[in-house]
């Protein structure tokens, strides 16, 4: 019997880790008797199992009963025999003369710790399985999506400052995306600015360019990106005095009064994913900005998508099954098919904004807001006609698909004017804490040079100091596309008829999708948003 020193060392360390739990048994589970008569008259009840030690050092193990022949003074039964080194000799029916017996040993079974181990590991298994299932059902909730940008100290995807080109899922869908940074970029040496870009998903990110936009602003002003891609300086940001839908719901006014992460959400229609809702807002009339002048008013909406579009995208991928590469090749080569796929997103639509025209007594459209991605919050402005902003109050309607959008804020602001941004390109890049000399060139311009990032990659992007100095608000503009990694759960026979039904807005397919999503909607939200979901 020998145990290696290494095993001893490892074992010793583990014992320390285990805080040296001691489990003690009563020694009485084992007894020895000098002879059979003593055992028979002492042990009560008679033991079922025996170990009979003979004078030559052998031991016989009886595990299926035994008998004592008092006439011949022999112990009878089926036993296994072991020599003095406890090597197995033989087994079978034996007759042992009592005068060969040196001592008799009996043992009662002892109770192991198996039950407590099983209970603990079963509990952990249930928890882990629940999280695993939730992550399989909704991978983006667990693994993120698209390049995520961090300008502050946060490193968790739930607090990402921006996410890039969420809807660019194929090379032909490469697009640019501009997002406001929730925090100013961190300071780097020599007055430069640092931004972190991560690949936190099972995706290959192909990034064409990343630029930091520094938009100058005066004290008291806030810069908001317009739906027309201009940057507006605004003041007098006013929360709504009332906000309600046509259906009874909890008053959402307080939720929409600040861009603070408290979001107004709704749930989908269980039979129709394209069912829309109308949220009516009432504002006091916008006051002109006294010092800077008044260039009109605008509705400022803070929002991001729910997980509905994520569900539809992953369902589409699962329906592509193992034909996913063929389908994507077709999308790449056939513009009409590409338009059809992109049109699926249009079936759900954006946040359509209307203002009440008192003169003509009707709702006039002022534009629509749309930005893909369930992670980073967007803040966009829609200018409204000057004549709509007259009078003592202003009514605004937001029309959108139920359960598709999360509204963080809906406010009215006075527009001071537009501000041209300074475009800052990365001058230095570190990939996973190591210098990447090619990356600044790859990310610098919208050209044919791409930076490819794989899951887990993290880039530290260093930008020069803004030329204007003074106060500025920052936005990040990224351009590229990403390739979703297929997962085993999707590697099934394709269901292209369903896929085409989705694309062609087939009522049956969409009703089935509505039912399926309704069944998991609450669970997905719980996993992803925890306490942030407010219905």
């Amino acid at each position: 019997m020998s145990v290696s020193l290494l095993q001893r060392a490892v074992f010793g360390g583990l014992m320390v880790t285990a805080l040296c739990c001691t489990h003690t048994l009563e020694h009485t589970f084992r007894a020895t008797y000098k002879d059979m008569n003593t055992m028979i008259h002492t042990a009560n009840p008679a033991p079922e199992y025996l170990k009979v030690h003979t004078k030559n050092g052998d031991v016989f193990v009886f595990i299926s009963g035994w008998n004592l022949d008092s006439t011949s003074n022999q112990l009878l039964g089926v036993a296994s025999r072991f020599d003095f080194n406890r090597l197995f000799v033989d087994s079978g029916q034996v007759r042992i003369s009592t005068d060969q017996i040196a001592i008799i040993e009996t043992n009662r079974p002892i109770e192991s710790l198996d039950a407590s181990i099983t209970a603990t590991l079963t509990s952990l298994t249930i928890i882990n399985a629940a999280v695993t299932i939730a992550c399989i059902a909704n991978p983006k909730a667990c693994f993120g999506s698209c390049p995520t940008f961090y300008s502050g100290s946060a490193a968790n995807v739930h607090y990402a400052d921006a996410e890039g080109f969420s809807s660019s899922v194929a090379p032909s869908l490469e697009a640019a995306d501009t997002d406001p940074l929730q925090h100013p970029p961190m300071a780097a040496p020599n007055g430069r600015l640092r931004l972190t870009m991560k690949n936190e998903a099972f995706e290959t990110h192909v990034v064409n360019s990343v630029a930091l936009l520094a938009v100058p602003c005066q004290a008291g002003e806030q810069i908001v990106q317009g739906a027309d891609q201009q940057f507006y300086a605004v003041t007098n940001i006013t929360p709504p005095s009332h906000a309600a839908t046509e259906n009874p719901e909890r008053n959402a006014t307080w939720l929409l009064g600040q861009f603070d992460g408290n979001e107004r959400t709704s749930t989908t229609d269980g039979n129709n994913l394209q069912s829309r809702e109308v949220l009516t807002l009432r504002f006091p009339a916008p006051a002109p900005a006294p010092a800077q002048g008044f260039a009109g008013a605008g509705v400022v909406i803070g929002f991001r998508q729910s997980l509905l579009s994520t569900f539809l995208f992953y369902t589409a991928l699962s329906w592509m099954g193992h034909s996913v590469s063929d389908v994507f090749a077709s999308i790449e080569s056939a513009p009409s098919l590409r338009r059809a796929f992109c049109g699926t997103e249009d079936l759900l639509g954006g946040i359509d904004c209307f203002v009440w025209n008192k003169a003509s007594q009707r709702w006039d459209s002022v534009g629509s807001l749309k930005e893909s991605g369930p992670l980073a919050r967007n803040l966009l402005l829609l200018p409204i006609p000057t004549d709509a902003a007259t009078g003592d109050s202003l009514q605004v309607q937001l029309r959108m698909t139920r359960g598709h959008w999360r509204l963080d804020c809906a406010m009215l602001a006075s527009i001071v004017g537009t501000r041209p941004p300074s475009l800052l390109r990365p001058v230095e890049v570190q990939r996973n804490s190591k210098p990447d000399t090619a990356a600044p060139r790859q990310l610098g311009h919208d050209d044919q040079q791409y930076l490819v990032s794989l899951p887990g990659d993290q880039f530290s992007l260093i930008f020069p100091q803004p030329p204007s100095g003074g106060n500025a608000q920052f936005f990040v503009r990224s351009k590229g596309y990403y390739l979703e990694w297929m997962r085993p759960a999707w590697n099934n026979p394709p269901q292209l008829d369903k896929l085409m039904g989705m694309v062609a807005n087939n009522p049956t397919v969409w009703r089935d999708l509505a039912v399926e999503f309704k069944g998991m909607e609450a669970g997905m939200e719980e996993v992803f948003w925890s306490s942030k979901a407010i219905k």
Binding site: S2, L5, A18, F84, T120, S123, I136
Partner: protein
């Protein structure tokens, strides 16, 4: 140390947990058929380790113990003086013994399965994405002590000196005619 290294380390530890730790002792369900002696660890009056190994027999106020490790560097200096020539068996007079630990069995019947199960649980946290920051520590904090305790610990027995012999390989004492140098 990056996350991958930490996870790899944890997985290795978890798989080792199920394999080491009193593997020379019987499992609880095998105690009724196990034929070797219990493990005894002897200490002198100063609580310095004297010898440890399988208790072979008690005879003439001497404990005969077969070292678990055939390595003289491992056996304490005092213990080496007490080795029976040409064997790894220590013949330790009872008067030398200040105290002892006696271990008779492992605490779990399926320590390897528990180790594999736990390793699987750790591996499954890799599928939790960002939530690994919560599920990995939870699994470690809750599961590791349980698995280590169950797979690397043994049942101890406190036994009066008069009954110590029943945990020896030869409870009757050294069998006459058995050459100690032939025992392993």
């Amino acid at each position: 140390m990056n996350r991958t290294t930490i996870i790899a380390l944890v997985l290795i530890i978890a798989s080792v947990v199920g394999c080491v730790g009193y593997s020379h002792l019987p499992k609880p369900k095998d105690i009724i058929t196990h034929t070797k002696g219990a493990e005894v660890e002897l200490f002198d009056a100063n609580e310095d380790q004297l010898f440890d190994g399988e208790l072979l027999a008690i005879q003439n106020d001497t404990l005969y113990i077969l070292s678990l490790i055939a390595d003289s560097n491992y056996i304490s200096h005092i213990g080496q003086q007490l080795l029976v020539p040409n064997t790894w068996i220590g013949a330790i007079p009872k008067s030398f013994v200040g105290s002892m630990h006696l271990r008779v069995a492992r605490t779990a019947n399926s320590p390897t399965s528990a180790g594999i199960w736990f390793t699987g649980l750790l591996a499954s946290t890799l599928s939790h994405g960002f939530y690994i920051v919560a599920t990995l520590p939870t699994t470690l904090a809750w599961g590791l002590p349980t698995v280590i305790d169950a797979t690397t610990t043994a049942f101890h027995v406190e036994v009066p000196e008069a009954e110590l012999h029943k945990f020896a390989r030869f409870p009757q004492g050294l069998p006459p005619g058995v050459n100690l140098s032939m025992i392993d």
